[in-house]
């Protein structure tokens, strides 16, 4: 049973959790990239994925948990040549998602944030959906098409 030939990685997933510490940002990127490697992405696609994940994880750490300690959860799954990545936190949540999505908007100019994180995520993946409950947390779902669909 060699899954590689017929349907590479179909149905495969991974879940990763770690505390909201900035030193885990690179772990998040590297793990998602290693998982996505199963779809044989181009270097450019890999850079886009790593950047989008880095933005979402950084947001969870800085904005979600406001540099306090909480848990960041990532889950990835593969579907017909696309990767879906969900980044979740149980932090303060987003009051106004439309405002948050505006280019250059940041609630933390004091931390020298550029306000470009969500804009970059939007442009580097195919779909970006944000769910947030103020006081309870945020869930960012991204989907990016990588490989041509394989015959099953």
């Amino acid at each position: 049973m060699d899954r590689d030939k017929s349907m590479p990685a179909a149905g495969n997933y991974m879940r990763l959790q770690f505390p909201s510490r900035s030193e885990n940002e690179s772990l998040a990127r590297v793990a998602v990239a290693a998982f996505a490697a199963q779809l044989d992405p181009t270097l450019e696609q890999l850079t886009e994925l790593k950047t989008a994940v880095s933005e979402a994880v950084t947001n969870a750490i800085i904005h979600g948990y406001e540099d306090g300690e909480g848990e960041v959860r990532i889950s990835c799954s593969l579907h017909e040549g696309a990767i879906e990545i969900v980044v979740e936190d149980d932090g303060r949540g987003i009051e106004d998602i439309d405002l948050a999505r505006q280019p250059m908007y940041t609630s933390r100019p004091d931390l020298e944030r550029s306000g470009m994180g969500l804009t970059i995520m939007e442009s580097f993946v195919d779909e970006l959906a944000i769910d947030s409950a103020p006081g309870r947390g945020t869930r960012v779902r991204m989907r990016k098409h990588i490989a041509p669909v394989m015959a099953q």
């Binding site: 900035s22 030193e23 940002e25 690179s26 990127r29 270097l43 450019e44 850079t47 790593k50 950047t51 880095s54 933005e55 950084t58 750490i61 800085i62 931390l111 020298e112 944030r113 550029s114 470009m116 994180g117 804009t119 970059i120 442009s123």
Partner: protein, 114 residues
């Protein structure tokens, strides 16, 4: 992440190496500011030659240094921005306020000529 800086004809040249993310930025921001203070915020060149990865935290670092340098009447230039970072720079609109040069020498010349 590591930085290596030198002062050439009064221009502070900072070469950054590794992943320029939020974790790295928090650690090197103060270091660059300290050296800017020592050189009177006259001119800063940031080299991206050895940057393997960058996200919007790097944009924040650039914009923050742009602010502190220009507030003191100084100048900022960037150099050796590789292909993977280009799109980030273009997306962000940062190129409208800071210039990017092919080589460190060209960037140094540009900030000195001002």
């Amino acid at each position: 992440m590591a930085i290596e800086s030198s002062v050439l004809d009064g221009v502070l040249v900072v070469r950054m190496r590794g992943d320029l993310d939020h974790h790295a930025v928090e650690r090197i921001r103060d270091e660059i500011e300290r050296e800017l203070r020592a050189t009177g915020y006259r001119a800063l060149v940031l080299s991206f030659r050895d940057i393997d990865f960058m996200d919007s935290s790097g944009l924040g670092l650039i914009l923050g240094r742009y602010r502190s340098v220009t507030q003191h009447g100084g100048r900022l230039a960037l150099c050796e921005v590789g292909e993977p970072l280009r799109r980030l720079f273009e997306l962000s609109g940062i190129l409208k306020i800071v210039s990017v040069y092919e080589s460190e020498e060209a960037a140094i010349r540009a900030v000195k000529e001002a």
